[in-house]
Symmetry: C2
């Protein structure tokens, strides 16, 4: 589902994703897939419940083998992030800690700035039910909290990873907010548009549609408005002129 060829290149070298005490191999696999979807490859596991490699992670990773095969396992969080410059902790519940709380967007924009300066980042994710330990949060630079529906706030582990990875890619992405796939064609020129209008209005005059004369200017304006704001392509103008011609051709009556 969903994706595009407009992103220039895979973005590698992004933040390390550090899963602390993940319980389900399936979640590790789904997280790996989400990472690679958005160009992240550095997966670190701290005390996973089940031995690693874990075959249950393979299928949901859906061929994100580069992430699964490259995953490293650690006994302690502090070992997993030892060489990193900036460590962020994701958490849902408010903790009594004096610590900046960032949105995923703000955190990943910061991570991009760090990366541009040659500095590395890691993002800690806690175990499925209970989240991160306070001691892991205490040595993190900041907390990252995903804004959610407070009445249903429990985000799946892999989905939390997905959102951070998505924001990482977006923070470095220059996809325009609004684009227009035009293939082999181009926007119609003003002259082509006027040609369409005059063609249509000639036929409408002939058919008695633009009547009475005192109402003609407003009716013409309304019709021109519809097609002007559609942002027509050259090809579409030709299609519409073909339609006008087809509709005005003398009709065969009865069976063909």
């Amino acid at each position: 589902m969903a994706g595009t060829d407009r992103t220039k290149e895979a973005v590698l070298g992004g933040p390390a994703i550090v899963l602390v005490e993940p319980q389900m191999g399936e979640n590790i696999g789904t997280a790996a897939r989400a990472m690679l979807n958005f160009g992240l490859t550095d997966l670190r596991l701290v005390r996973p419940r089940d031995p690693w490699p874990n075959e249950k992670a393979r299928a949901p990773a859906s061929r994100a083998d580069v992430v699964i095969d490259g995953a490293r396992v650690y006994r302690q969080t502090t070992d997993a992030v030892a060489e990193l410059h900036h460590v962020y902790a994701t958490t849902a519940r408010p903790r009594d800690m004096l610590k900046p709380v960032l949105t995923p967007r703000a955190a990943m924009e910061a991570a991009r700035r760090h990366a541009a300066a040659g500095e590395t980042c890691g993002i800690l994710f806690g175990r499925e039910k209970s989240g991160l330990h306070n001691e892991d949060i205490a040595v993190s630079k900041a907390i990252v909290a995903v804004p959610v529906n407070p009445a249903f706030a429990s985000l799946n582990l892999a989905q939390a990873v997905l959102i951070l990875a998505y924001e990482w890619l977006l923070a470095g992405d220059d996809t325009p907010d609004r684009d227009f796939r035009q293939g082999a064609t181009r926007p119609a020129t003003h002259e082509e548009l006027m040609g369409l209008f005059e063609h249509l209005e000639t036929e409408l005059d002939a058919g008695g549609f633009l009547y009475p004369p005192e109402k003609r200017p407003a009716m013409v304006r309304n019709v021109r408005n519809i097609f002007s704001r559609a942002g027509l392509m050259e090809q579409e103008v030709r299609t519409l002129r073909g339609i006008v011609s087809a509709l005005t051709k003398p009709r065969r009556r009865g069976n063909p």
Copy 2:
């Protein structure tokens, strides 16, 4: 995982999520959970492969029962979106169609504007492997494409739903990019900070650390810099003064 109590209220009345020919009940359930995480509740299914209700959707929905129980099933996409004002189609592959292509962010900001004007939206998602049919895309207002790693672009159905739902919530969310959880304390005043500095520097003078005299101003400046940029809270200033006192107390030698 991840979430916050800072979001003001559940956002209801958001876009309808329309899954066209979903194959796996698990994906429907995971999509339902992702919807409710971000305040969406209107789930519509067009020709699901398996009969609905589908018990396989229940467990991964993780108590998002309001979404599962409220889901409606349709024979045709056109029936599923009949009363909606704005229909968007998510797609990964470029199609030869003259149609605006929006990022999830731009599309959901537009959806918020429509909602504010009392207009309703729906977002179409195609089946897991093959995506939407061209005829469903043709009658949509615009295409929504999630920017992804082009080398690994295949996004899981529920994850595509998650990203649109997340962007819907964000578009109406006023969570500050950067916040600071301060609990019962408050930022230290300048006077409190100066009290700490003078306390510390007095002890450092006594210990001979700020020596020789010609280097003292620069050394004081460096130390004051460290603590100034930390954005200390009143409580933390007291803790640091306690530390200075503890470190300067005459030590007991030998065993306690």
